[in-house]
């Protein structure tokens, strides 16, 4: 069986290599396309030529979370995650329809290339742009680290690196001590690429070993090689092709994801005997919480049967959490109370609307007709992705009840489901390309936004306005390399809480930019000071609630100590005031501050507003 597993995985490697070559080809093609005309407008904005498919399938909040964090939640907590994600039913309209037209128009009228450009021109104040770019850099860099971890994790599953290290070294990093890595593969049973159910037993044995008696955790070479390869690929193609490379590969990957998910749902649900049978089987192994709100919680928080996705990866962390939980007299864990179900209708909707990476795509849209078509495409796409993903993971819980890393449920299902097929490994490769592609796409789009923030919004704006094109190019490449290096450095000891970090950054961005976005697009009376206040109040509220939540129990102000641990728990969790997610408070504070400060300050100059809100003199209004 192990040998079967490896054979299967070599097949998937072929599919993945083809996929990666295609991606790099897009990078090269994009470079040729952007080499025409202005570097800035071409490299960072694709000459404003995005069509419907590109806008629909790349401007959204799909990320490593879509294919790893979200499936892990369904696998661990059950059907209630359908309510958690339900906000996506309106996301196509809210994320593209509310700001889309106006952002596309305003960015043309002002000549803006980046979101901070737009803010600056709209409010005629460079401080608005500067604060905007600093907030973008903060949240995007933070979330990038989590995305790189996801990318490396997928690489590790896809490529049989443990096998490589144990036998023939073929990878560039393979000369590292093979004995060490073999030991790593053996000791750390959780990281074995085998999907045998025996991993449960092995992991249990590992978990029972007293923490103190164990040697320092072995270096996970498979993860590191995965990380290095992933970084090289994604930074490489993004650097060469810029925004268009990011968009094209994103589009290509999104289509592959759709095909992969649709095929997988067609295999997985029948294999589990249908959805109802799968549900009953899963409930038998878990409890009624799996089919009902507020969601299934394993009897003990560190149970091997159903760990929350944040508790994995590091046994040491699990042990620390166990101690912490015992000290706190094991507070009640509730996954998704109604107050959080309510909150996530804000998270997805305003997270999409307030995402700077999404806003840039709106600015690059080529016409309103394109925007309309892209919203419809996205609506169809979301239904075909998210609902089948839920079905796959419910079937997954029935078929593979003891997966140690729920983050890996989709790739593992793909390998498992196709392992008996002739040529099935190529199909597995396709399905595996989905999470890999999602992560690459996200990282790539963030890289472009971060580089444009550093080069244009900070360097060019404040340091050297007349920098020549060669300087700008070099600086752009350099920023991407530095971000890649930082991501590798921080991931050598990978941070936990992939999904928690993504949720945090989504909430922070939304609270920082959703309200200012609406003010920019629709409110004549909005002022520069009001917009700055709105951005700062929103992001400070979210960051503050997370910061307080992160305090050790002893240091927590008594008023904030909560009896219940909501959502996935873990050390990185916010304070949920009244059970409501920080994003709702952040949006509220952002709106209050934006309106109050705008009204308290001098109205903006009528001439600027008129240029941006009234019909252009030469273009007669249509009616």
């Amino acid at each position: 069986m192990l040998e079967d597993g490896i054979t299967t995985q070599w097949g998937t490697v072929v599919a993945l290599v083809i996929f990666i070559i295609a991606t790099l080809w897009f990078g090269a093609a994009a470079q040729r396309a952007v080499s025409r005309g202005s570097f800035l407008k071409g490299y960072f904005l694709g000459n404003r030529g995005l069509g419907a498919w590109a806008i629909a399938l790349t401007a959204t909040v799909q990320s490593g979370g879509t294919f790893m964090g979200f499936p892990a939640l369904v696998y661990s907590f059950g059907w209630v995650v359908a309510v958690w994600i339900a906000g996506y039913m309106v996301v196509p309209l809210t994320s593209l329809g509310v700001l889309g037209k106006r952002f596309a128009q305003l960015s043309r009228r002002t000549g803006a290339i980046t979101v901070p450009d737009l803010l600056r021109e709209r409010f005629d104040d460079s401080r608005v742009g500067l604060i905007g770019s600093l907030l973008i850099l903060f949240f995007l860099t933070f979330t990038m680290v989590a995305q790189f971890k996801a990318g490396a994790a997928v690489m590790k599953i896809v490529f049989p690196l443990d096998a490589v290290f144990a036998s023939a070294p073929v990878d560039e990093a393979a000369p590292v001590a093979a004995a060490d890595s073999a030991a790593a593969a053996g000791t750390d049973a959780i990281d074995a690429t085998s999907i045998e159910t025996t991993i449960t037993a092995a992991a249990n044995a590992t978990a029972e070993t007293p923490e103190a008696a164990k040697p320092a955790p072995p270096v996970d070479y498979a993860f590191l090689v995965g990380l290095g390869t992933f970084t090289l690929i994604v930074v490489g193609y993004t650097m060469f092709g810029g925004f268009l490379a990011s968009v094209w590969t994103d589009l290509f990957q999104s289509v592959l994801m759709l095909i992969g998910v649709v095929i997988l749902v067609c295999i997985a649900v029948p294999a589990a005997g249908g959805l109802e049978a799968a549900t009953r089987q899963a409930v038998a192994a878990t409890g009624d919480g799996f089919v009902s709100g507020p969601g299934f919680i394993a009897p003990t928080a560190v149970s091997d049967d159903a760990p929350g996705p944040e508790q994995l990866e590091s046994e040491q962390l699990v042990a620390e959490e166990q101690v912490a939980l015992e000290q706190a007299h094991a507070p009640v864990r509730i996954f998704l109370p109604v107050s959080l179900a309510f909150s996530f209708f804000f998270t997805w909707v305003y997270g999409g609307m307030g995402s700077p990476a999404g806003m840039v795509r709106l600015m690059a849209c080529n016409s309103t007709g394109t925007l309309r078509r892209s919203i419809v495409l996205l609506a169809a796409y979301n239904m075909l992705i998210y609902i089948p993903l839920i079905m796959i993971c419910i079937a997954g819980r029935a078929l593979m009840p003891n997966v140690q890393h729920p983050d890996e449920i989709i790739p593992r299902m793909a390998v498992q489901m196709t392992s008996q097929w002739t040529g099935g490994s190529l199909l597995a490769g396709l399905v595996l390309a989905a999470p890999f592609g999602a992560v690459m796409a996200t990282v790539s789009s963030y890289l472009v936004v971060i580089a444009s923030g550093i080069v244009r919004d900070i360097y060019q704006r404040f340091y050297d306005p007349h920098a020549n094109e060669m300087t700008i190019k070099r600086l752009t490449y350099l920023s991407m390399l530095v971000v890649g290096a930082i991501a590798i450095a921080t991931n050598i000891n990978p941070p936990e809480f992939l999904q928690a970090i993504i949720v945090f950054c989504g909430a922070g961005q939304a609270a920082a930019f959703a309200v200012p976005g609406v003010m920019t697009a629709f409110w004549r009376r909005a002022t520069a000071a009001g917009t700055i206040a709105s951005m700062l109040a929103g992001s400070a509220t979210v960051v503050g609630l997370y910061a307080v939540g992160w305090l050790p129990d002893g240091m927590m102000p008594a008023a904030f100590v909560q009896d219940e641990v909501l959502f996935t728990g873990g050390a990185f969790r916010p304070i949920y005031l009244f059970g409501i997610d920080p994003i709702v408070w952040g949006l509220l504070m952002s709106a209050v501050a934006g309106v109050a400060v705008s009204l308290a300050t001098q109205p903006p100059r009528a001439e600027i507003i008129s240029n941006l809100f009234d019909a252009e003199p030469e273009a007669e209004p249509a009616g």
Binding site: Y88, M89, G97, S292, A341, A380, I387, H466, A606
Partner: protein, 99 residues
């Protein structure tokens, strides 16, 4: 200063934004209320299944999701207007331009 007429795209964008926000609010209230009433603290024994989905998931999530998708199609094809986005020549390569 002679008052200029409000931009046509702005007017249609505002009208569309209001409808979208109302849709969001309706979807939120319906889904959260329905699931809170019928989806919480149930047991598998009193659960029925619709197309394999637990009853509350189907009526609380899958059904409104389908309606929203149909609404989105209608909205984009029959409600949203098309307007020119304007001149795209104002892209300064440095900051010497006055715009």
């Amino acid at each position: 200063m002679p008052p200029r007429e409000e931009d046509a795209l702005l007017r249609s964008a505002r009208r569309e934004a209001i409808v979208i926000v109302v849709l969001w609010a309706v979807a939120l209230v319906y889904t959260v209320t329905y699931c809170a009433l019928y989806g919480y603290d149930r047991t598998i024994d009193d659960m029925t299944f619709v197309f394999g989905f637990p009853d509350w998931v189907f009526w609380g999530v899958i059904f409104p999701w389908t309606l929203c998708t149909v609404f989105t199609w209608w909205f984009c094809n029959f409600f949203m207007g098309d307007e020119p986005l304007g001149d795209d020549s104002k892209v300064p390569d440095d900051f010497t331009d006055d715009f």
